[in-house]
Amino acid sequence: AQRVTQPEKLLSVFKGAPVELKCNYSYSGSPELFWYVQYSRQRLQLLLRHISRESIKGFTADLNKGETSFHLKKPFAQEEDSAMYYCALSGSGYGQNFVFGPGTRLSVLP
């Protein structure tokens, strides 16, 4: 079964501080992992995915298959990063499912 966990419901950091949002998953095959973000009063949108290995808005995430983790990191948090962050997993195959974690609310304080 696919499962995504995010241990922190709320994470508060000061502007300029490093931030790490934790994500762990369980999946028997080879998953694709994503981070989605929802800013206040906006739609949920893709932030980044592990297969592209890109940095978006200063955020990066590395897939660690040994620890089944996909933590989201940013070295210097900005106030505009305050949002709800969801880690998501997509299974392989034709009828691919798409499962989300419970989310972490990031609050960046001035």
Partner: protein, 112 residues
């Protein structure tokens, strides 16, 4: 450039009513999903569809059904609405090539 559109932003329905939530996408995606979003629980998958007339149960299908008669439209049906179905409902469609999901703006349903 709205790509996924849900028919209503807000709905108020009475207990026992049959409720239809509509979702339309214009990206020709095969995969579409219905989630409910609740504080502390995140997004929970209700149903998904990977082709016309095909559907699969998600994690919480009880009390819901879906319909996919056309590729662009995926409907969520509450056969007999109950107060515990008060929630934010999100529709999404998935680009299989990029595996990026696009979300609608959400429908906040209140069952009284």
């Amino acid at each position: 450039d709205v790509k996924v559109t849900q028919s209503s932003r807000y709905l108020v329905k009475r207990t026992g009513e049959k409720v239809f939530l509509e979702c339309v996408q214009d990206m020709d995606h095969e995969n579409m999903f219905w989630y409910r979003q609740d504080p502390g629980l995140g997004l929970r998958l209700i149903y998904f569809s990977y082709d016309v007339k095909m559907k699969e149960k998600g994690d919480i299908p009880e009390g819901y059904s879906v319909s996919r008669e056309k590729k662009e439209r995926f409907s969520l049906i509450l056969e007999s609405a109950s107060t515990n179905q008060t929630s934010m409902y999100l529709c999404a469609s998935l680009n299989r090539d990029t595996t990026e999901a696009f979300f609608g703006q959400g429908t906040r349903l209140t069952v009284v």
